[in-house]
Amino acid sequence: MTHATTALLLTAPIVVPLATSAAYAASGLRDAKARAAGAAALGHRTPRQRGAAAPVATLVLRPGHGPATYGTTPAETADGPSYGGPGARAWPGTRPGGSPGGPGTGSDGIAGPDTGPGAPAWSRGRPAAPAGTGTGAGPAGRARPGRGPRTGAPGPVPRPLTGRLGLVSPAAILTCGAALACTVPDSGPVTAYGRLLRADALTVWMLLTVGAVACLACAANPAHLAHERTDEPAARRYHLLVHAFLAAMSAAVLAANLGVLWVAIEATTIVTAFLVGHRRTRASVEAAWKYVVICSAGIALAFLGTVLLYYAARQAGIPEAYALDWQTLAARADRLDPSVTRLATGLVVLGFGAKAGLAPLHAWLPDAHSQAPAPVSALMSGVLLSVAFAGLLRYKVIADAALGAGFTRTLLAGVAVVTLALAAALLLAQRDCKRMLAYSSMEHMSLIALGTAAGSPLALSAVLLHMAGHGLAKTVAFCASGHIARLCGTTRIGRIRGLLAHSPCLGTAFAAAVVALLGLPPFGLFASELGIARAGFLSGPRWALAAALVLMLAAFAALAARTARMLLGPPPGEDDEAEPVPLGADAGAPLVAGLAACAALGVTTGPLTRLLSEAGEIIGGH
Amino acid sequence: MNGTMTATGTAAVTLQVALVAAGAPLLAGLMRQVRALLEGRAGPGVTQPFRDLRKLLRKEAVTPAGTGSAFRLGPLVLVATTAVVAALVPLASTATPVSGSADLILVVALLGLGTVALALAGLDTGTAFGGMGASREMTVAALVEPTILLAVFALSIPAGSTNLSAIVSGGIHDPVRLASPAGLLSTAALAVAVLAETGRLPVDNPATHLELTMVHEAMVLEYAGPDLALVELGSQMRLTVLLGLLASLSAPWGIATTASPAALVLALVLLALKVALLGAALAAAEVFWAKLRLFRVPELLAGSFLLALLAVTASYFLTGE
């Protein structure tokens, strides 16, 4: 494999998604220019409308280089339920003490009743505050579908292209991962761009996981956006951010330099901030704020840990260019100063733990994952948590070489048991199905942390298999919950009845996903949980594993009872023989593909067996 | 020698069954007569049961409305099981062809089968009496079962097997075993169990038709004619066999262990004598007993269970075998 091809294979997963998001951005710019021309042609617009739009529109710098004013996305109030957290009322407008306007005025044109453009005066908490549909100070004076056909502006990027364009980057990541999977186990790790990007067995496994989950999520995007009926600019910005998100994750996985790894993970936070806030309801703004603040604080601590590690490396005589290079650090870790490394590792476990959903900085996860659009929360819950944890694994290799396995074992086991206890306790009386899935992600990440605490190669292979299995199953579960929310109008578990009868395909897919998450055969999570238990009792902290088994039983009971309440029973509504609601082919395909992949992982790892054991050796081998 | 062995052996079995079948009504008549005399009554005479049976056999057979095969099979199974038990138990001789499989647990189970058949017949009538009788009978039978089996356990420890011939011949050769506390306790427990099993006085009053108190009678209320004859004969045979069993376990002298015909005749005579004596004693005792309330019976049976348990543990702790 010549150097050129490895360089290509290593950079493609990052460059292709970036190029795709740039394509979306470009089409956005073209559309904006066309609209500006169109606006000039339509001089007759009333000053009040244009005036009101002015003060706000100009202020905001365009975040990336998207089509600027975030403006109202009128469509999403039609029936896109801002079902928000359990506290939020089920009506999409979430108007505090709102008028009996019912779920949006039905006409999916005009945004929820706003008190007329340009009426900025609100007092905090006053009931009459306008519908929290993010109508913003001034209604974006643009692209109101109600305004009739656009005159003469070139059409946005044609819909079939966006559909196909969406799948290009995940496919690229997957193919690069597959290609590397054929070479890396035999010929060892490959590097490119002067040791900036590096791919060893762990990277390849994570690339495959990211690629697979991304394929599923991007395949589910069109169906989801169609259901949300988002208009063109919002859809375009959505795709832009998703592909930037994929690029950031690939960079985080491929980074050889710990600093670059940190930058990539921080980039994922920033990019997903707007994805979490995509729906523009009060709840999603709150979720986005909590997500950014808590994650950034956590990640900053991780950067402090990285700086201290860099300091220890420099003092250990490693030249500046290689001081943050993972391979050299892992090789010469025994010469690092123990107490500085211990402080650095502690901070890193706290920091990256925040990003991986582990206590104590875990509280953003249920809010962010329940408010984000379904494919995004699938990507975040399925694979972002695992990518952050993969970063933590890199540091664990260095810490174990420098301090011996005892420190990370106790720290990770403690954090894992605390997180599991929190997740199990909060699952017991959970009332919202998306938050339930988020807490189940926390439970699985704490199990992964426990497996890492065990530290033997078998444990680490089981951990990686668990990451892949959990990614696939959680993606299917979140995408299905998105459809459930659309079908039943709410994610309150209490109000969802008889799903299997109401929509058999969707119900079966969701049931199969939850069976996989419960760790039952034939899905991959059973094999990996079995591996973690065996390795844990062999080499890991037995007290932690015993406590974990009991807590997982409580979580199993809570999840099983909640899901049974949602799935089983006669269809809602009076007549028992109501015609079941079909799930479209394009919505169903990713679900079935995800379940099939997860089941395949459960039966046999086939060609990936050597890769998996190799990756386990790298992290747990010493 | 083996040829004569089986000949006298089969003779012993057939004679045994015949004696039980024929002697049962006689024993019932004797007991009623003894009771009448003690109560100062003239009494109908010892052969009265035979006259009753003849009268019933001459009546026409009756099928009550709504009853089915269980009702008709009940009496037949009762008599059949009692006959088989009579054949198995070494009343007269231990050297019989069937003594090899004369297992005490099998005997107890066969008696249980008879009770179950009768209970099912009672339920088949579909009347309140049949149901009530069946329910009470099964409750008592369920509570007696532990006592009987523990008594069997106690008896089998010294003999090393639950085979009746072994136990009886063991008793004959080693009389001390019978007088030992384990032997006495197990015999007492077995005696109480026999009273409950055959529905005699402290547990159930065979003579009454008062629906509040009757247990056995309630089940057979609907029978008439030949079926009733069979039921009467069955319960009398059951009493005879159980008293014979009790006699051979607690006083095994005279039971023929060899194949000689003379010993067999002597054994049969002695058997008749012993059973008559036991029947008379029981009848005499019944005069002084009153029927226990149904929900006091468990206390009686718990007492007998305790006796049997002591018998088992005593035989272990004392002999230390």
């Binding site: 017991l428 299997l500 065996r534 009792f537 | 009546k59 037949l76 088989v84 189970a109 099964m138 929900f295």
Partner: protein, 677 residues
């Protein structure tokens, strides 16, 4: 490839075909195709089991399957016995299932998901005894749990009780899995290997504490699958709510695997655990036997009655296994081999007669749509075949001579009685109590099945639905017929099982000679002076009945039997409402055991609106709840929900609280590091 191995491969292939048929074929054909595939699978399992019982051993290792561990399979005589039992039951119940599931509309037992899960469940029942490593055993164990859950939830749309039963079943089964996973993982860690061979080799090297912990965890897990008392509440919920062919499979084959697990892991792999462990197993078995049969005596729902009777019979099996363990650990292999043989024989007998009981009950429920014995009655006239099958299986369940249940209980009593030769105070106290428990449970079982047969089938129908019952389709009779033949064969010629039982006992690690030198017709115990020839006893009984009938025919001159009215004390013809129902039948027993059962009774009087003295309506309700469930499980559930509500305060939504968690976490970490962790 030995015959046993090819049988297993055939079984797996048929299971795959069954699943495809279940998923793809439409309506009517689907049920027949799946039924035939499952029946073939059962037959293959039976053939494999019988071959293994014949002495052929084989093992296979498939590294490709099951990531991180690979699939190990191995069959010896012990697993052969359980495979044969499961195969036979699956064969008969599958044939029965075709008749049972067809003609009941697209939902419920004939739906696509349920029909696809049935062959997989049958395959796991046959394959679990063949697993030979911790991972493969747990895989097949959990696959059995998942597929049986899908089958239990077949009628979930109709009744909410099914849904609740499904959740209870899923959570209790997972609790069993957690115990089993912990136990076997601890065992694998202690013995330093994953396959059963490595476990067997490494078991002696483990510390007594570890061995004790493994023994307890694994015994508790398998006891919960066998429905033993403290962990039994799922049994009387899942079995009645499942379709009858599924509850037949669960009661007759799945619970046996609990007993198989204890014999295989605690007995054979651990090399006989500690004495106190076996005493605990024996005590649990005894407690479950008595408690199970008492609850069965009180139950008026026929399938709940049969479920509790399963708990009783498995209790008897565990008494046998516990006694065998006790004798083996005291160094007396001969009585131990006898006790284990008795336990295995009772597993076989129970499997056959319990399957027939559930099939017959299923046929009744299918015809009348009623499960309550109080509203049945008079079914013998309308459903003669089902009544006959129920009578045969009740006779076996009641453990009286012509039935096969009596033989295994007789053997169990013999083994306990001849166990007294084992010295030690514990045996002297425990064995008599065990005999008393077996006797009491046999007596109560007699009362239970007299109630079930008499109240359910005899006399006159007590409800319109019972009156309008029709006989079920012939295919169900074929299935029940197979089981009835099995019952009678086991009852009349048990001796044929003699040497295969001895081989199974030897495979379980007990080399105490051959406990059963069974002749063709007899059950002769060679080290112990006891023998029983069931064929002769039955012949004598039949002869006695014929003789008595002949005596009657001879003496009565007038041949005809006349019909007459029932005795009605002069108060008019007795109506069906007057006849005894299951509740009234059980009332004396309930009064005798009321402090054990604690029946609940409440009377609420609703006075007339105007004045408190005039009563408008009095409602009387009496029920016998499952006391252990009330005392043990309700508080746990309440505590869990309270914890859940309290935990909600942990996530109150305030950003400051969440950041506070992080801040205190950071400060705590820094303090720990500063202090010098």
């Amino acid at each position: 490839m030995s015959s046993a191995e090819s049988a297993t491969v055939v079984a797996a292939g048929l299971a795959g075909a069954g699943v495809l048929a279940g998923m793809l074929l439409p309506g009517r054909i689907r049920v027949v195709a799946v039924g035939l595939c499952t029946a073939g699978l059962g037959g293959a399992g039976l053939a494999g089991g019988v071959a293994a019982l014949g002495g052929t051993r084989w093992s296979a290792y498939l590294p490709g399957l099951l990531p991180l561990a690979g699939l190990h399979l191995a069959v010896d005589a012990l697993s052969g016995l359980f495979m044969a039992v499961a195969g036979a039951v699956v064969l008969a119940v599958a044939v029965y299932g075709i008749g049972y599931a067809s003609g009941r509309g697209p939902r419920g037992p004939a739906s696509r998901g349920v029909q696809a899960a049935l062959p997989v469940f049958a395959l796991t029942l046959v394959l679990v005894p063949a697993a030979a490593s911790v991972s493969s055993f747990l895989l097949l164990w959990e696959a059995m749990a998942v597929t049986s859950l899908v089958l239990v939830l077949a009628d979930q749309r109709e009744r909410s009780a099914v849904r609740e039963a499904g959740v209870w079943y899923a959570v209790m089964t997972h609790f069993g899995l957690v115990l089993l996973l912990a136990g076997l993982a601890l065992f694998a860690a202690g013995a330093g290997g994953e396959t059963f061979a490595q476990l067997r080799a490494g078991a002696s090297g483990m510390s007594p504490g570890a061995r004790g912990a493994v023994f307890l965890l694994v015994a508790a897990a398998f006891a919960s699958k066998a429905g033993m008392v403290p962990l039994h509440p799922w049994l009387p919920r899942a079995h009645p709510e499942a379709p009858s062919n599924v509850s037949a499979l669960m009661s007759a084959a799945m619970v046996n695997l609990g007993a198989y697990g204890i014999i295989r892991v605690n007995f054979e792999l651990l090399g006989g655990g500690p004495r106190w462990g076996w005493l605990l197993v024996l005590a649990t078995g005894a407690l479950s036997a008595v408690y199970g049969i008492l609850q069965a005596a009180m139950a008026s729902d026929i399938k709940r009655l049969l479920a509790y009777s399963t708990s009783e019979n498995l209790g008897l099996v565990l008494i046998g296994v516990g006694a065998a363990g006790l004798f083996a650990s005291s160094g007396y292999p001969v009585p131990a081999a006898l006790a284990l043989a008795a336990a295995l024989l009772h597993v076989t007998n129970h499997a056959v007669f319990k399957a027939l009981l559930f099939c017959a009950a299923g046929s009744v429920v299918r015809a009348t749509g009623v499960r309550d014995l109080d509203r049945m009655g008079g079914l013998r006239a309308r459903m003669p075949a089902t009544a006959g099958f129920f009578a045969v299986s009740s006779l076996a369940a009641v453990a009286l001579p012509p039935g096969n249940g009596f033989l295994s209980e007789w053997l169990l009593l013999q083994s306990l009685i001849h166990g007294m030769t084992v010295p030690g105070v514990s045996t002297a106290i425990v064995l008599p109590l065990a005999v008393a428990v077996i006797a009491l449970s046999a007596g109560l079982a007699a009362a239970v099945f007299v109630k079930a047969l008499g109240v359910g089938f005899f006399a006159r129908p007590r409800s319109a639905r019972a009156a309008s019952a029709e006989e079920s389709p012939p295919l169900m009779h074929v299935g029940m017929g197979l089981l009835a033949i099995g019952c009678t064969a086991l009852a009349l010629v048990p001796g044929t099982l003699g040497n295969s039982l001895s081989r199974a006992v030897a495979a379980a690690g007990l080399h105490g000679g051959r406990p059963l030198a069974g002749g063709g017709l007899e059950l002769r115990l060679d080290q112990v002076a006891a023998s029983l020839s069931p064929l002769w006893v039955t012949a004598a009984l039949v002869g006695g009945v014929v003789a008595a009938a002949g005596l009657i025919r001879l003496t009565t001159r007038r041949g005809r039997r006349t019909n007459a009215r029932l005795w009605d004390c002069g108060g008019g013809a007795p109506t069906p409402r007057m006849s005894y129902t299951a509740t009234s039948f059980a009332e004396p027993l309930q009064r005798v055991f009321d402090d054990v059962l604690e029946p609940e009774q409440d009377v609420d009087v609703t006075p007339v609106h105007e004045s408190a003295y005039l009563v408008e309506r009095v409602r009387f309700r009496r029920s016998v709840p499952d006391r252990i469930e009330h005392r043990l499980y309700r508080p746990v559930l309440a505590a869990a929900l309270a914890l859940g509500r309290a935990a909600r305060r942990l996530a109150p939504g305030s950003v400051h609280r969440y950041l506070g968690y992080g801040f205190f976490g950071l400060v705590a970490l820094l303090l720990a590091l500063a202090v010098g962790w």
